[in-house]
C-alpha cells in the first residue's frame, strides 16, 4: 500500500541530483578561500615575526618590516570611520525613520545602491579630483580617508537602515501613542535595539576599508616613507598599497616570503575584523529581549 510508485522514484532521483549539484557548488565556493588562506599561511608564515611587524622596510623594501604601513592603515581606517559613520548613520536614520515614501526618497535610495556599485578606481579618480585638487588637501591621509569614506558610505547606510528596520514597528507605534516624538522614539527605543546591527556594519566597513588599494593610490598613499605620519595632512604608507607596490612595482627583487607575509598580515586583519564583527553580533543578539 505504501510502496513507492515510479513517479515517487523519479522524484527521489531528481531530488538526489539537485542535492548533489548544490553541494558541489558549495564546495567550489569554499575551495578558493581555503587555497588562498592556505597558500598565504604556508608561504607567508616564515616572514612573520615581531621584527617584521614593528620595523620599517629596509634595503629598497627587500628586507625589514611593515610597521609604517600597519600604522598608516590604522590612520586611514580611523579617519575614514570618523567621516563616514556619522554621515552614514544619520542618513540611514533619516531615510528609515523620517523620510516619506516618495519619489525623492526612492531616488536617494537608488543613488545609494549605485554608489555601492561604482568601481573603486572611479572613486579614486573622484577623490583625487575632489579632495586632493579641488579642496586642496594634497595627497594626504585626509584626502585618502575621505575617498575611502565616500566609497564605504553605502555599506554603513545599508547596514544601518537594515538594522533599524529590523526593530519591530509595534515598538515605534507604542512610543508614538504615548506621545513620544520621532526623535524620542529613536533615542529610547529604535537605536538601543539596532545598535548591534549598526556596529556590525561599521566593523565590516573597517575590514573593507583596510583592504582597498585603488582609492588611496592617488590620494594619499605612498610607496615608502621613512617616518610615521604625524597628522592627517601627511602622506602615509598603507598595507594594501605596500603589498601592491612590492608585488608589482618594486625595482629590486623582493623576497617572495616578504610579499606573502604582507598579504598574510593584511588578510589576518580583515578576517580578525570580520570575526570580531560576528562575535559581537552574536553577543548583542543574546542581549536582545524579544
Amino acid at each position: 500500500m505504501f510502496a513507492a510508485t515510479p513517479l515517487n522514484r523519479r522524484s527521489d532521483r531528481n531530488q538526489s541530483v539537485a542535492k548533489a549539484v548544490f553541494g558541489l557548488m558549495t564546495v567550489v565556493l569554499v575551495i578558493p578561500v581555503l587555497l588562498i588562506i592556505g597558500t598565504l599561511v604556508v608561504k607567508g608564515a616564515p616572514a612573520i615575526s615581531w621584527e617584521f611587524l614593528f620595523t620599517a622596510p629596509r634595503n629598497n623594501m627587500t628586507a625589514g618590516g611593515i610597521f609604517p604601513a600597519l600604522v598608516g592603515t590604522i590612520w586611514l581606517v580611523v579617519v575614514a570611520l570618523l567621516a563616514s559613520v556619522p554621515v552614514g548613520v544619520a542618513a540611514a536614520l533619516y531615510l528609515s525613520e523620517y523620510a516619506p515614501d516618495n519619489l525623492l526618497t526612492r531616488a536617494i535610495n537608488l543613488a545609494i545602491v549605485n554608489l555601492a556599485g561604482v568601481p573603486s578606481i572611479v572613486h579614486a579618480l573622484f577623490g583625487f579630483g575632489a579632495f586632493v585638487l579641488f579642496f586642496n588637501m594634497g595627497q594626504s591621509i585626509l584626502a585618502a580617508s575621505l575617498t575611502l569614506a565616500v566609497m564605504t558610505l553605502p555599506v554603513v547606510i545599508v547596514a544601518t537602515r537594515e538594522s533599524l528596520q529590523a526593530v519591530p514597528h509595534a515598538f515605534r507605534e507604542a512610543c508614538w501613542n504615548m506621545g513620544a516624538t520621532r526623535w524620542q522614539t529613536i533615542r529610547k527605543v529604535v537605536l538601543p535595539n539596532s545598535i548591534s546591527g549598526i556596529l556590525t556594519g561599521v566593523i565590516l566597513e573597517v575590514s573593507r576599508t583596510s583592504g582597498e588599494t585603488a582609492p588611496i593610490m592617488f590620494t594619499g598613499a605612498t610607496a615608502f616613507l621613512a617616518f610615521l605620519p604625524e597628522s592627517v595632512f601627511d602622506q602615509t604608507m598603507a598595507m594594501s598599497y605596500h603589498l601592491y607596490y612590492i608585488a608589482t612595482q618594486a625595482t629590486a627583487d623582493v623576497p617572495e616570503e616578504l610579499t606573502y607575509g604582507v598579504a598574510l598580515v593584511l588578510i589576518a586583519i580583515v578576517l580578525m575584523m570580520n570575526a570580531v564583527s560576528i562575535a559581537f553580533r552574536v553577543y548583542l543578539r543574546g542581549l536582545k529581549k524579544w
Binding site: 519591530p168 509595534a170 501613542n177 504615548m178 506621545g179 513620544a180 529581549k289 524579544w290
Partner: protein
C-alpha cells in the same frame, strides 16, 4: 475638565469623542462616510461590524495616529472633550497624552516592566521637574494596581516586560498609559491575541476602568461587545448604521442590517 469624567455622567457636558461629517480617504479609497459619532464620557462604547467596515480607521482617527500613513485625507471634524483635534495649533503630543491607545497585539517595549510603565511619564513629566524615585515607585505601584497586575509582577519589576504572558503584557500596555492621566482609552481588539482566560481577565479590567476613563473599544467578538459595553456602535462599509444602548442594539436593533449581522447572517 480635570474631574469631569469621573462617574457616570450620561449625556452631561461635552462628549468624550464627537465626530461631525467625518469622511476619510486612503488615497482614492473612501473608508469613512459622513460619520457622526457621539461617545459619552465615562462609559464603555464598543464598535462592531464586519472586517473592513472602518472601525479601526475611525478609532485611529480619534488620536490622529492614522496620519502616520501619509496618504490619508480627512474632512469633517473630530472633537475630544469638546476640543477639535484638527484645529490649528493642536500639538499631537498633547492629543496622544490625553488619548491612550491599546493595540490588538500587546506591544510592550523591550525594556523592564518598571521602565515600560514609567516610559510615558518620564517622557512628559520627568523633563519638566525633578521626579524622586519614591514618586516613581508610587506611580508604578498605583498604575500596576489599577490594572490588577501588581501582585503578579511586584517581585520582578526589573525583568524584561517581554517575558510576561500575553494577558499580562496587554495589562501592562494599559498600565503604561495611566501615569500620563489620559481621559480617553482607545482599544483596538485588545483581546483578540489572548486565550479565553486572558480575554476574561482583560475584559474584567476594562470594566473596572469604566467610570475613570472613557473607553472606546473595537471588537470582532459579539459576545464581548454585548457583555462588556454600555453602548454599542454598528458600522458597515464606512458608515455608522446604528448606535444605542448595548442591550437595545442586541435585543431589538432598529436596523435590519444590524440584526442580520448580530444574528450572524454575514460577518
Amino acid at each position: 475638565m480635570a474631574d469631569e469624567h469621573h462617574g457616570d455622567h450620561g449625556d452631561h457636558g461635552p462628549y468624550a469623542i464627537e465626530t461631525r461629517g467625518l469622511n476619510l480617504w486612503y488615497g482614492d479609497f473612501q473608508a469613512l462616510y459622513d460619520v457622526d459619532l457621539e461617545v459619552k464620557q465615562g462609559i464603555i462604547t464598543s464598535m462592531i461590524g464586519p472586517s473592513g467596515c472602518g472601525k479601526t480607521t475611525l478609532l485611529r482617527t480619534c488620536n490622529r495616529i492614522i496620519e502616520r500613513l501619509g496618504y490619508v485625507r480627512t474632512t469633517g471634524s473630530v472633537s475630544i472633550l469638546g476640543h477639535d483635534v484638527f484645529a490649528d495649533g493642536v500639538e499631537l503630543v498633547q492629543v496622544r497624552k490625553r488619548i491612550g491607545m491599546v493595540f490588538q497585539r500587546p506591544n510592550p517595549l523591550p525594556i523592564s516592566i518598571r521602565d515600560n510603565v514609567l516610559f510615558g511619564f518620564r517622557l512628559h513629566e520627568a523633563r519638566l521637574r525633578k521626579v524622586s524615585a519614591a514618586e516613581e515607585d508610587e506611580i508604578l505601584e498605583s498604575s500596576l494596581r489599577q490594572v490588577l497586575l501588581w501582585d503578579t509582577v511586584k517581585d520582578r519589576l526589573d525583568k524584561p516586560a517581554t517575558g510576561l504572558s500575553l494577558e499580562e503584557q496587554q495589562k501592562l500596555c494599559i498600565a503604561r498609559l495611566l501615569p500620563v492621566k489620559p481621559e480617553v482609552l482607545l482599544m483596538d481588539e485588545p483581546c483578540s491575541a489572548l486565550d479565553p482566560a486572558g480575554t476574561e481577565a482583560v475584559e474584567e479590567l476594562i470594566w473596572k476602568l469604566r467610570g475613570d476613563y472613557t473607553i472606546l473599544i473595537v471588537t470582532h467578538n459579539m459576545a464581548q461587545a454585548r457583555r462588556a459595553s454600555d453602548e454599542c456602535v454598528f458600522m458597515l462599509l464606512g458608515r455608522i448604521i446604528e448606535h444605542g444602548r448595548t442591550d437595545e442594539v442586541f435585543l431589538s436593533p432598529e436596523n435590519s442590517q444590524t440584526a442580520d449581522y448580530i444574528e450572524g447572517r454575514y460577518g
